[in-house]
Symmetry: C2
Amino acid sequence: MGEPLKIAIAGLGTVGGGVIKALMAQTAGIKARAGRGLVVVGMSARDPSKARDFKLVNFTADPLALVKGDADVVVELIGGEDGIARKLIESALDHGKHVVTANKALLATHGKALAERAEKHNLQLKFEAAVAGGIPIVQTLREGLIAYDVQAVKGILNGTCNYILTEMEASGAPFADVLKDAQGLGYAEADPTLDIGGGDTAHKLALLSSLAFGVAPDLSSMTVEGIEHITPADIHFASEFGFRIKLLGVARRTSSGIDQKVHPAMVRIRSPLANVDGAANGVLVDAGQAGPFFFSGRGAGEAPTASAVIADLVEIARGTYTPVFGRPASSLTALKPASVDAAPSPWYLRFEVLDLPGVLAEIAGHLSQSGVSIESMIQRGRHHGAPVAIVMITHETAQSAVERALKAISASDKVRSRPCMIPMEAA
Amino acid sequence: MGEPLKIAIAGLGTVGGGVIKALMAQTAGIKARAGRGLVVVGMSARDPSKARDFKLVNFTADPLALVKGDADVVVELIGGEDGIARKLIESALDHGKHVVTANKALLATHGKALAERAEKHNLQLKFEAAVAGGIPIVQTLREGLIAYDVQAVKGILNGTCNYILTEMEASGAPFADVLKDAQGLGYAEADPTLDIGGGDTAHKLALLSSLAFGVAPDLSSMTVEGIEHITPADIHFASEFGFRIKLLGVARRTSSGIDQKVHPAMVRIRSPLANVDGAANGVLVDAGQAGPFFFSGRGAGEAPTASAVIADLVEIARGTYTPVFGRPASSLTALKPASVDAAPSPWYLRFEVLDLPGVLAEIAGHLSQSGVSIESMIQRGRHHGAPVAIVMITHETAQSAVERALKAISASDKVRSRPCMIPMEAA
């Protein structure tokens, strides 16, 4: 056995603490797998006096001081797409230290440059914990499903959103109420914007896209929509049609380029993604000729995320060398975005309308003029003069056609509130 | 970039052909990931004149001749737990060549000795294709879910059995008829014994068990039961209780040792394993504190299996070194089998009885004497004097108690045919 791998950890929150505790609890097992011990030689956090259920070792309040120690690896668990996390990773690489990080925001924004920096120094920059927590989806895309061209990756990548949608379905309560409960239970942050707005899913999707398609992570062309506008009525109607609503990150090859979208989508009730419940994550990979593969499990929390960090540390301890995104960073190509209509689908449409003569004719007319044809329809809540919901499923239609029709329909004085459009994903 | 990795392939059936074709079709992509080219320098099969959709290169009818060439890696796709496949792998390792194999029978039987042989020479012996086809479950257990002690692995590992059970449910047809159809469609072999009897699942389970628990693969203590005795009635009753019947390989830690079983099991309709349909495979890993993880996809066939072989070849090309079963082979411990009652569960019981006075009292009496208590019951098909089915779900009960009761009940002259007992797996 060689010398122990020396590890410095920046950020001692839930995940950092989990890593430290697991390394202590599983010393022998991890050593047997790694071929050498893993030992923590430095720690950094903002507040040394905070109560923690592990002992501080060589503590420093300055994370950048960790790169001057004798650590072989710096584990960055501070977060944030710029600022100190970025400085720390760059400095660690420049000081010849491998890096393990859970920082999706940073990698989604600066992934190619950081990977080039690591590869220039023959260092590892590993990020299994950045996507889908304990599910080893990064390794799977980087090393497993590589013989054929991956065609699509579709994931439930944010546990907070999935928890909220699952609870909305179970309770029938509106989004705002369920969000508040989720905040009380610790399933949602005090400022939930990054989760519920889809931004966190977007970061993760950019990383999966890079691994799957050999492109540099690229958020610039991604359309991102969150779950704030989903109503209990939408969830109810979805179930009447045999679907569930999930916030999906979808990246796929199309004839015009790579289509990257984060949006609420309808998935068939018996499909694997539809059965990912609560705070769990799930990822469906269409591995081309090899077929579809599905992966699910806990996407956040202490032990699942620590599990991913430790898997990366063990790879480094073994001396395994793999390019950061599966291919040399210099060969990652610029993402060519697909046209907006590259992936037509059936759509779920909901209109709140005044129940006045001619309203259905008006809606149907606009849809027809835009070339949107209807496969099925439900109308509910007829009280003359009061708003009613009209819900439709379209045949497979390009997005821009639906948007054109909805723009015209929104202009009608018989239509209340913004019409809702949700694509149905074959999954 | 270094010299290309030189590959010799023994066995040019579906999988071997798939590997060769994928290496030719994906040359640039695989080279980018591997950091060097992968080139086939030798091939072996029984019949050189067979029509194939790829060109033979340095063909030899004698697989053992491949180890004398200049290949860096020998890919063994001949199969069989002894004989030529074993000789080839041993000889390849002794000649300093890495080995990639899909041979579960061989590794389940001689895994530890072969791993020691490989590790003694610092060679790789990789077998992703041996379990669950394209699903990267070997890598996941070897390198991914390693921070906490895995508690259990439960898998649908045989596509033939899962196809037959799925078709029996869809059509209501009996086992023998569906098997015959499956043979006609190529989903079952002419001699289907190894599949339907559970032997193939047993081989794969022994490998997953080794990876999960750090034991030498061990078939000796495994109980193995196939799907031959499952009737359409069982499948129908299962669905009335909210379950599906799946052939599972189950390996779990218990307080008395490792419990390894292959058997038809009831799984709840909304559980991930219940939704693995047709010829697909699925694996549920209880990764201890990190929680449960689920993996599914195509478990056999040309492209999924070739995908697994190529992932192994790319790892070897990169120079990655990992112990064969995740830990040094010399440290794999002998499996201590669990006691038969180590994993109590609820049971589904079916009796074919003559509808005579006192028959239910007699069955209930025997169950009660053995300490088996009933949670729910269905009785169907009352035609006085003709056989009827009595179906029960028990409360959680040790296996030996159920067996004791069924032995007594079988002795009754009112009971027709062998009673059926199927455990219900929390999954």
